[in-house]
C-alpha cells in the first residue's frame, strides 16, 4: 500500500502497454486545449428551497471528455496533493479506456469512501492544486474530484456490490470508538485483516459528521449509508447509543476480550465567543442547528424535533460548517441568510465550491466584521446584534492576515436567529475517562507514527488527534492506524505463543 506508492511504482504502471498506447492516441497539445468540464448543478433558485443535491454529477460523455485532459504525467504531482496518495492518473486512464469499474478498483486501493471524498474533499487545495495544469500551465486543474465522484457513483449504480477480499477470520476482537470517517476506515481495514471488529457509536445513527454535520444537499445520506453497509457486509458490527467512557469504560471492554482500540471520537465540541448575550434563546451553535436538521429531522413536520429558524439569520464564521449552516437556514425559509466573517472572501477556509454555491443561492456576506454583543426582547429571545468592523493587518501564525478592529465602527443589525460556527474542540469524554492518557494543551490525543497513543494497544486518529480537519485526513489516519494495530496485535500474539 503506502510503501508501494513510490516513483518507481508509478513509472512501471505508466509504462504498461495499454497506458502508453492510450497516452499517444491524443497529442498533449490537444489534451491541454480541452476546457475543463463544468459540473451540472441544480438551479440555484430551486435548490435553495429544497434538499436536492446541488451537484448533479457528470454524464459519461462529460467524464470521458475530462479524462482526456489528464496528461498521464511522468511525475504525477497530483498524487502528492492527495493525503491518501490516490493513484490519480491510473484511475483516470482506466476511465479514459472505458473501464470504469477498473477505475473504481484503483480508487478503492487507497480510499474506502471515494463517493464521499469526490464530493467533500477541498480538491482545490489538495490534489487539483498540485496538478500539472495548475502548476505549469496556469490553467484549471484536471477535475479529479468530479471524476472520482463519477467513477464511484458509476460503480455503485452499475457494479455488483462486491466487498474487498477478507483474510480468514482470526477471532481477535478489536474495538473502534466513533463511526465517522476515521472509525469507518479503520473498521474496514481491520476487517480485511480478518479481525472481529465492533464499532461503538454514541449517537443513534452512524457516520459522525458525515451524517449529523454535512447536509443532504451536499452529501446525500443514502451514499453514506451505502458505504456503511459495505462495511457491515464485511462482518463489522456496529453498536449505536454506546458512549465509551460512559456506557462502559475501555477497561470494561478489555474484560470483554477486546485487545486493541481505535479512538475516533472527533472534534465535536462547539466553540462559543464568550461575548455578552450569547446565551439568549435563538442563538445556537452550528452543531445544534445542523444536528437538529440533519440527524433529527428538525423542520420536517413528520418529526417531533423543533428547530430555530427565522427571517433574518446570521451565521458567524467562514468555514465549511458556516457555509453548511447558512445554506441550510436559507433552505428553511430565511429571507436574509447572512455569513459574517472577520476576514475577507480570500481568507475563507470553506471549500471554494461551497462559497460559489452559497453566492449563487443568494447568501449575503458581511466580511471584515465580528459580533461584540447580542440583545434580546423581554422574553429573552435575541432580536439584535452589535457588530464591529475589522481591517486586515499583519499576517498571523497561520500566515493569514490578522483582522484588526476598526475603533468606533460599531453598528447594529436586526436578527431573529444566530448560528455560531467559529470552530470546534476535541470531544473530551474519552480523555476524562482515562486520566493517564497523554493529551496536548488543545485536548487532542497524542499519538506516535503508528497512531498509537501513550497507552499500548490504544490508537487514535482523525479530528480527535488533529482538531477540526478533513474527511480525507481522518481516513488517512484510519489506514495508518489499522496497519499499526495489526502489527501491534500480531507482535502480541506471537509473544504469547
Amino acid at each position: 500500500m503506502e510503501e508501494e506508492l513510490n516513483e518507481e511504482y508509478y513509472k512501471a504502471e505508466r509504462k504498461t502497454e495499454w497506458r502508453d498506447k492510450l497516452r499517444k492516441e491524443i497529442k498533449a497539445k490537444e489534451r491541454t486545449d480541452i476546457s475543463r468540464v463544468r459540473m451540472p448543478e441544480a438551479d440555484p433558485n430551486v435548490r435553495n428551497k429544497s434538499n436536492l443535491e446541488v451537484n448533479k454529477g457528470l454524464t459519461l460523455e462529460m467524464a470521458i471528455a475530462e479524462s482526456h485532459r489528464c496528461l498521464d504525467c511522468a511525475v504525477p504531482t497530483c498524487i502528492i496533493g492527495c493525503p491518501v496518495g490516490t493513484n490519480i492518473p491510473k484511475f483516470i486512464k482506466y476511465l479514459e479506456a472505458g473501464d470504469i469499474l477498473g477505475a473504481a478498483e484503483v480508487l478503492k486501493e487507497n480510499n474506502s469512501l471515494p463517493a464521499i471524498c469526490g464530493r467533500v474533499c477541498p480538491q482545490e487545495i489538495q490534489c487539483e492544486a498540485q496538478c500539472f495544469y495548475v502548476k505549469k500551465l496556469s490553467k484549471e486543474g484536471a477535475a479529479i474530484g468530479h471524476l472520482e465522484r463519477f467513477v464511484a457513483d458509476y460503480a455503485r449504480e452499475h457494479g455488483e456490490a462486491t466487498i474487498p477480499a477478507l483474510a480468514e477470520p482470526n477471532g481477535i476482537k478489536m474495538a473502534v470508538i466513533g463511526s465517522g470517517p476515521a472509525g469507518l476506515t479503520v473498521a474496514g481495514e481491520l476487517a480485511k485483516f480478518g479481525y472481529d471488529v465492533t464499532v461503538f457509536e454514541a449517537l443513534h445513527d452512524l457516520g459522525g459528521v458525515l451524517k449529523y454535520g454535512i447536509p443532504e444537499f451536499r452529501l446525500p445520506k443514502s451514499i453514506v449509508d451505502y458505504e456503511i453497509n459495505t462495511i457491515k457486509n464485511m462482518g463489522v458490527k456496529f453498536i449505536t447509543n454506546f458512549i465509551v467512557g460512559k456506557t462502559a469504560s475501555i477497561a470494561d471492554l478489555k474484560e470483554e476480550g477486546y485487545v486493541a482500540f481505535f479512538i475516533a471520537s472527533g472534534a465535536g465540541l462547539p466553540n462559543f465567543m464568550n461575548i455578552p448575550g450569547e446565551n439568549y434563546s435563538g442563538i445556537q451553535s452550528a452543531n445544534e442547528f445542523l444536528t437538529r436538521v440533519n440527524l433529527m429531522g428538525g423542520g420536517n413536520k413528520d418529526f417531533d424535533t423543533p428547530v430555530h429558524t427565522g427571517k433574518n439569520v446570521v451565521i458567524i464564521g467562514g468555514g465549511n460548517t458556516a457555509m453548511d449552516s447558512v445554506r441550510t437556514a436559507k433552505r428553511m425559509g430565511a429571507e436574509r441568510a447572512i455569513i459574517m466573517y472577520r476576514r475577507t472572501m480570500e481568507e475563507m477556509p470553506a471549500r471554494a465550491e461551497e462559497i460559489k454555491h452559497a453566492i449563487e443561492e443568494g447568501i449575503e456576506f458581511i466580511n471584515l466584521a465580528s459580533p461584540i454583543e447580542y440583545f434580546a426582547d423581554e422574553r429573552g429571545k435575541v432580536n439584535k446584534m452589535r457588530v464591529q468592523k475589522m481591517e486586515l493587518g499583519e499576517p498571523d501564525a497561520s500566515g493569514r492576515r490578522r483582522p484588526v478592529v476598526i475603533k468606533g465602527s460599531e453598528y447594529d443589525i436586526d436578527v431573529d436567529s444566530v448560528v455560531i460556527a467559529v470552530g470546534v474542540s476535541p470531544n473530551p469524554i474519552i480523555q476524562q475517562s482515562i486520566p493517564e492518557l497523554e493529551i496536548t494543551k488543545w485536548n487532542t490525543i497524542k499519538v506516535d507514527g503508528n497512531m498509537m497513543t501513550s497507552i499500548p494497544g490504544l490508537f487514535a486518529g482523525g479530528d480527535i488527534v488533529r482538531g477540526g480537519a478533513t474527511v480525507i485526513l481522518a481516513m488517512g489516519d484510519g489506514r495508518k492506524a489499522a496497519a499499526g494495530m495489526h502489527s501491534f496485535v500480531q507482535a502480541d500474539v506471537f509473544a504469547n505463543i
Partner: protein, 280 residues
C-alpha cells in the same frame, strides 16, 4: 431497541417505566441521566435514572407528561420497545457524609431527587426530605422517599395533603429549626430559583439539578448551556448539578422557552391526532 419491562402510573400525569438496559444499569450512579428517542421520528429527551437493578439489568425512569414526547412515552406499555436509550450521562452527584442534608423536590423534580436521597442516606447522612406538589393527586414516591429519609415532609399548594404552602416555606422552617450542612433542590426552574434564594440567606451550600433543553447529551451542541457564576457551562457534561447560588436562573428560564411556540403547535397537532384516532 430497549424493552419496557414494567410501566405504571404513579399519579395522573406521572408514569414509571422500567427498561432493559444492562450496561447503563451497571455504570450509573446517583445523579446520572439518559437520553431516549421513542421512534425514528421522535426527539431526543433527557430523563433522570431514578433507580437501577444491576442483576436484572434494568433502569427505572419516572416521567411527567408535559408535551408530545413525554405523552407518547407515558402511552407506552410493558413489552413495547424504545428505539434509542443512551447513557449514563452527566456527572454523578458527589455523595459524602456531610452531616444533615436537606433535599427538596418540586413537581417531577421529585423523581430525579430520589436516587440522591437514597445515596445520601446510605452514605450516613441525616436526610430531611421535602416533596412538594400542586395537590394530593400529584404527590409521587412518598413511600420510597420515606424509606430513605430521617424525616419526610409532604407539601401541597392547596393543602389537600401534608402541609399547605410552597416548598420554600417548608425549607425555611427546617433551616430555622436545625443546622443544615447541605441542601439539594430539584424542580421547575422557578422553584429552584426561589429555593436557592432561601438557602442563600442562611449561607447553606446548595446544589440544583438543572433540566435544560438537550439534544445529544455529550457536549456536542451547546443547547443545554447555562451561565454559572458568569461562566458558560454545559449541563449535560459539566452538570446536571451546579452550585445553586451561582446559576443564572432567569437566563435558564428564557432558554427553556426557546421552542415553546413550536412545541405547543406540535402538541396541539398531537392531541388532535389522538382525538381523531379515538373518534374513529
Amino acid at each position: 431497541m430497549f424493552k419496557i419491562i414494567e410501566k405504571k402510573f404513579l399519579s395522573e400525569n406521572v408514569a414509571k417505566l422500567v427498561i432493559e438496559a444492562p450496561y447503563i444499569a451497571k455504570s450509573r450512579r446517583a445523579g446520572h441521566f439518559i437520553i431516549l428517542r421513542i421512534d425514528k421520528n421522535g426527539e431526543r429527551i433527557p430523563l433522570t435514572i431514578s433507580d437501577a437493578d444491576v442483576e436484572k439489568g434494568t433502569i427505572s425512569l419516572i416521567v411527567q407528561r408535559v408535551g408530545v414526547s413525554s405523552h407518547k412515552l407515558c402511552a407506552m406499555n410493558a413489552g413495547n420497545f424504545i428505539l434509542d436509550v443512551v447513557g449514563p450521562l452527566g456527572k454523578a452527584t458527589h455523595i459524602s457524609n456531610v452531616g444533615t442534608v436537606l433535599c427538596a423536590g418540586g413537581g417531577v423534580g421529585v423523581a430525579p431527587l430520589f436516587p440522591i436521597v437514597q445515596a445520601m442516606k446510605l452514605a450516613g447522612n441525616r436526610v430531611i426530605t421535602i416533596i412538594a406538589a400542586r395537590n394530593k393527586d400529584l404527590v409521587i414516591l412518598e413511600n420510597e422517599m420515606a424509606e430513605y429519609s430521617d424525616e419526610l415532609i409532604v407539601m401541597t399548594d392547596d393543602g389537600s395533603k401534608g402541609t399547605k404552602g410552597l416548598v420554600t416555606q417548608g425549607m425555611e422552617e427546617v433551616i430555622l429549626r436545625e443546622k443544615i450542612h447541605q441542601a439539594i433542590v430539584i424542580g421547575p426552574a422557578v422553584m429552584m430559583k426561589f429555593a436557592a434564594l432561601t438557602t442563600k440567606k442562611y449561607d447553606i451550600h446548595t446544589l440544583a439539578s438543572l433540566n435544560t433543553i438537550m439534544v445529544d447529551g455529550t457536549g456536542m451542541c451547546g443547547a443545554c448551556r447555562v451561565s454559572v457564576g458568569g461562566k458558560t457551562e454545559f449541563v449535560c457534561v459539566d452538570g446536571p448539578e451546579f452550585d445553586a447560588h451561582k446559576v443564572n436562573f432567569d437566563e435558564m428560564l428564557s432558554r427553556l422557552g426557546a421552542y415553546k411556540d413550536k412545541e405547543s403547535e406540535n402538541y396541539e397537532a398531537y392531541v388532535k391526532s389522538c382525538e381523531a384516532v379515538s373518534l374513529n
